[in-house]
């Protein structure tokens, strides 16, 4: 009997231990796994949002998934991209043409997705090249750059590329004022000689083609960032300025003297009307317009020779200055279009202007002087409120569509959540480190998707395993679905992301193209059936019309090429199967490989310098017989009589 009792007691004790253990496990597990569960996208599952992060000095645009932070693609825009041959292939070289010649790099800053009625429509994404001023349009069905327009009379194309709420215009403002037109004058004659251009580039609603409709020539300030009005303020555009001091040297100090700079409010509808009625002055110019045609798989450049400029003083009631403290950086408009937020980067506070008050002040003509003839509104008359944040160095603000705003603070490295209207701070969370822009999908439209915010930082330091002095920039994802923000993920980015744009996956995923149709390929050198392959000599230029399919090139033996020839390999990928590209490279090529998508044609130039038999091969592991996907070109001396011969399987 005793033994039984002991047994039962000890069993009871064991049970208690076991159950205690389980309880502990459960509570620990729940605590530590919540952030992980929020960002975990299981193998085979897909993300909820697309995020397009600018590449900054990479010149490109990277595509990520949210909430996983996984990178899907780098889209070449302003920079040559040897991975695909963008900017190296004959078809895409014209994309990088400018009035300064071939410019194979730029500094890409602010992507913005096209909108209809103030909501993201997912047709295109635009992005600016900062250094040699350009605006690019990228298709969101092929995820390829389709068009680049150079912006004349601009320098440091920074307050760009933001679009109006029906994608009527993509707007590009100059950060550096310059002499307009450019001329040889002393730098210290900056004042009154230098001007700042704000360019309104119209977007064709059907094809998206861009056309520089007019340029507003503003006083020589620095136009830093901008955003369109929306809803009630649709028709207006707002630009932050700094260096209203018009300093031309040591701007660090000299451009930081004024207590207040301005937000320029531009009534573009009024100017559009003025221009449509024949207003404005045509000025000679020289700028490139590069368009890539999806059916010919080719880009062409047109040099434009004229630009329509508008003097703001000629359109009364079109431009006003809103005094805004301390060299404001970001210029953000809330989803209702009522509040215009100036992020005064040298102060602790945010200044919020009211659109209604601005209109009332304009109607009441309550001006506080003027700058170069442009009326300045009284600060107190347009002020809606100020956020006393306690942070330092506010840069950018996004919105969640639930009445809250989120502002990044560069100096104090944090994101601060505050309430529109009451201006009270609700929450603040650190970032790692020195955050620049932040992005909520749709966060600068009428309809934000307020579930996640991505903070893009300038400094990485110890966040990841070190990789020498140079490291990729760090980004953080916060869950903002609750009252308090929650840091849920930390991931390295590529290049230096400035701004980003995001949208729900279902807006783009269903219409993402899988192949290019071979029967729609209108490339002049395309071979649409393998029997069409040939090699044609025109003097010392040789055109190889080549096709590829798993796992061979047609032709794969070519003879009769001579030293000094310029050989164009025009390669058409005959696959019509999703995700079966073929690559091409040949020994001694002074350019990059090509990566040719199904149904596409691309061209690589090879100028053989040495006699011999030189191999070429497929660079993309296309199939089980990929290693066999190769061929030879025989190169004879320049004075040889070798006839051209080509074959496959002979």
């Amino acid at each position: 009997m005793k033994i039984y009792k002991q047994l039962i007691m000890s069993m009871g004790a064991v049970l208690m231990l076991v159950s205690c253990g389980q309880q502990n496990q459960n509570s620990n597990g729940a605590l530590s796994s919540s952030a992980a569960e929020k960002v975990y996208v299981a193998p085979g599952e897909q993300d909820e949002y697309y995020a397009f992060l600018s590449g900054g000095y990479s010149g490109n645009l990277t595509v990520y998934g949210l909430p996983s932070g996984r990178m899907f693609k780098e889209i070449p825009v302003f920079s040559q991209f040897p991975t695909s041959g963008y900017g190296y292939s004959e078809e895409t070289k014209p994309m990088l043409t400018t009035s300064h010649g071939f410019v194979p790099w730029d500094d890409a800053h602010h992507p913005d997705i096209s909108q209809t009625n103030g909501e993201l429509d997912g047709r295109w994404i635009f992005i600016n090249g900062n250094n040699t001023p350009r605006i690019a349009r990228i298709s969101l069905s092929t995820f390829e750059t389709e068009e680049i327009i150079e912006v004349p009379n601009s320098a440091g194309n920074h307050s760009s590329s933001f679009i109006t709420e029906n994608t009527e215009y993509v707007v590009a403002g100059t950060r550096f004022s310059v002499p307009i037109p450019q001329r040889d004058i002393p730098i210290n004659e900056y004042k009154s000689n230098f001007k700042g251009s704000l360019s309104f580039i119209s977007v064709d609603p059907e094809h998206g083609h861009m056309d520089l409709k007019f340029q507003l020539l503003m006083p020589g300030f620095n136009y830093d960032l901008s955003h369109p009005g929306r809803g009630k303020s649709h028709g207006w555009f707002f630009f932050t300025t700094y260096n209203t001091e018009e300093a031309h040297t040591l701007q660090e100090v000299n451009a930081s003297q004024n207590d207040k700079d301005f937000i320029a409010a531009v009534n573009w509808k009024k100017i559009e009307e003025y221009v449509n009625n024949g207003g404005g002055t045509k000025m000679p110019a020289n700028y490139a317009h590069n368009v890539y045609d999806e059916s010919t798989h080719m880009a062409t450049t047109t040099m434009k020779k004229e630009v329509l400029t508008v003097d703001p003083l000629k359109v009364p009631g079109a431009v006003f200055f809103l005094p805004t403290p301390k060299s404001p950086h970001g210029c953000d408009v809330d989803p209702t279009g009522q509040y215009i937020i100036g992020n005064g980067k040298l102060s602790a506070d945010l200044t919020i202007h009211s659109f209604d008050k601005m209109i009332a002040a304009i109607e009441g003509e309550k001006f506080d002087g003027e700058a170069y003839g442009i009326p300045i509104l009284k600060f107190e008359d347009v002020l809606a409120g100020q956020v006393k944040s306690g942070g330092l160095g506010p840069l950018h603000t996004e919105f969640d569509g639930k009445g809250n705003a989120y502002t990044t603070f560069f100096i104090s490295s944090e994101v601060v959540k505050w309430k529109l209207g009451t201006w009270e701070v609700i929450d603040r969370k650190p970032t790692y480190y020195s955050v620049g822009h932040l992005m909520i999908p749709g966060g600068n439209s009428r309809k934000p998707f307020g579930k996640y915010v991505v903070a893009m930082n300038k400094i990485t330091k110890d966040r990841y395993l070190p990789t020498g002095p140079e490291m990729e920039h760090s980004a953080q994802i916060y869950d903002i679905s609750g009252e308090k923000m929650e840091l849920i993920y930390d991931f390295p980015t590529h290049g230096e992301p400035h701004y980003a744009a995001g949208c729900p996956a279902e807006l783009l995923a269903p219409k993402s193209k899988k192949i290019y149709r071979l029967d729609e390929n209108k490339h002049p050198y395309a071979v649409t059936s393998p029997t069409g392959s040939k090699v044609v000599r025109e003097g010392n230029e040789v055109h190889v019309y080549m096709s590829t399919i798993r796992s061979h090139f047609t032709p794969d033996n070519i003879e009769g090429i001579k030293v000094g020839d310029k050989v164009y390999f025009h390669i058409t990928n005959h696959e019509q199967d999703f995700d079966v590209p073929h690559g091409f490279s040949i020994l001694g090529q002074n350019t990059s490989e090509l990566l040719i998508m199904p149904g596409q044609t691309k061209t690589s130039v090879w100028e053989p310098k040495q006699v011999g038999v030189w191999p070429f091969y497929c660079t993309d592991f296309c199939s089980a017989l990929h290693q066999e996907m190769q061929g030879y070109v025989r190169v004879s001396p320049a004075n040889s009589n070798m006839e051209l011969k080509w074959s496959l399987g002979e």
């Binding site: 399919i549 798993r550 019509q576 199967d577 089980a624 017989l625």
Partner: protein, 203 residues
């Protein structure tokens, strides 16, 4: 007999579905084909389930030396089957109408059903024979010549019905809408025969 005759008229009309819908379908799924390739077998030719499926199936099959999938002109069946179906539909409807006017009896109904069943079985036999040829008559210079564990050359006949694992592909073969419509139609003619037979017994 009226009811039976109406069923006999309606039943064969279901076979007209074969001119629109596929008779059979073969699906090929593999790890790298999360959206499976598919083949719709119509009485008058083969169609890819997606536009480029036939081209892509042929592209894959060339590695193991299979012939390309037959075009309409490559097989007499694609010309003959539609004619046979047309004749059978016309014949069935005619028998039904004659039955309605009491010119023929249930035995004719049953006769049509039996003839159609025999033709169907012959069709299946023919289809299977083609698949055997397609799956076993391989190019001797094929890129990949695989053997079974017992050393015999591997063959690739798709199943007539059901699922088979072939290399990296899961191949599933099953009747499609056209076949189901034909089945329903034939069952109606069988029902017509039964009702007709019951009628004669009453009288």
């Amino acid at each position: 007999m009226k009811k039976a005759s109406i069923l006999m008229i309606v039943g064969p009309l279901f076979l007209l579905g074969l001119y629109i819908f596929p008779l059979w379908k073969i699906m090929l799924g593999a790890p790298q084909y999360p959206d499976p390739l598919g083949l719709n077998i119509h009485i008058n030719g083969l169609q890819g389930m997606n536009e480029f499926d036939i081209q892509n199936i042929d592209g894959l099959n060339h590695y193991i030396g299979m012939q390309t999938l037959p075009k309409v002109e490559d097989m007499w069946e694609f010309g003959t089957f539609p004619t046979i179906i047309g004749i059978m539909v016309a014949l069935g409807v005619l028998i039904g109408i004659l039955g309605y006017f009491k010119k023929v009896g249930y035995k004719w109904f049953l006769g049509w059903f039996i003839l159609m069943s025999i033709l169907g079985l012959l069709g299946m036999y023919d289809f299977n024979a083609w698949m055997i040829d397609y799956g076993t008559n391989l190019d001797p210079n094929a890129i990949m010549k695989l053997t079974n564990p017992d050393g015999t050359p591997m063959t690739y006949k798709p199943p007539l019905l059901g699922h088979v694992k072939m290399l990296n592909f899961d191949v599933t073969s099953m009747p499609s809408i056209g076949a189901w419509l034909m089945f329903v139609g034939m069952m109606l003619t069988l029902a017509a025969s039964y009702l007709g037979w019951k009628n004669t017994k009453k009288q």
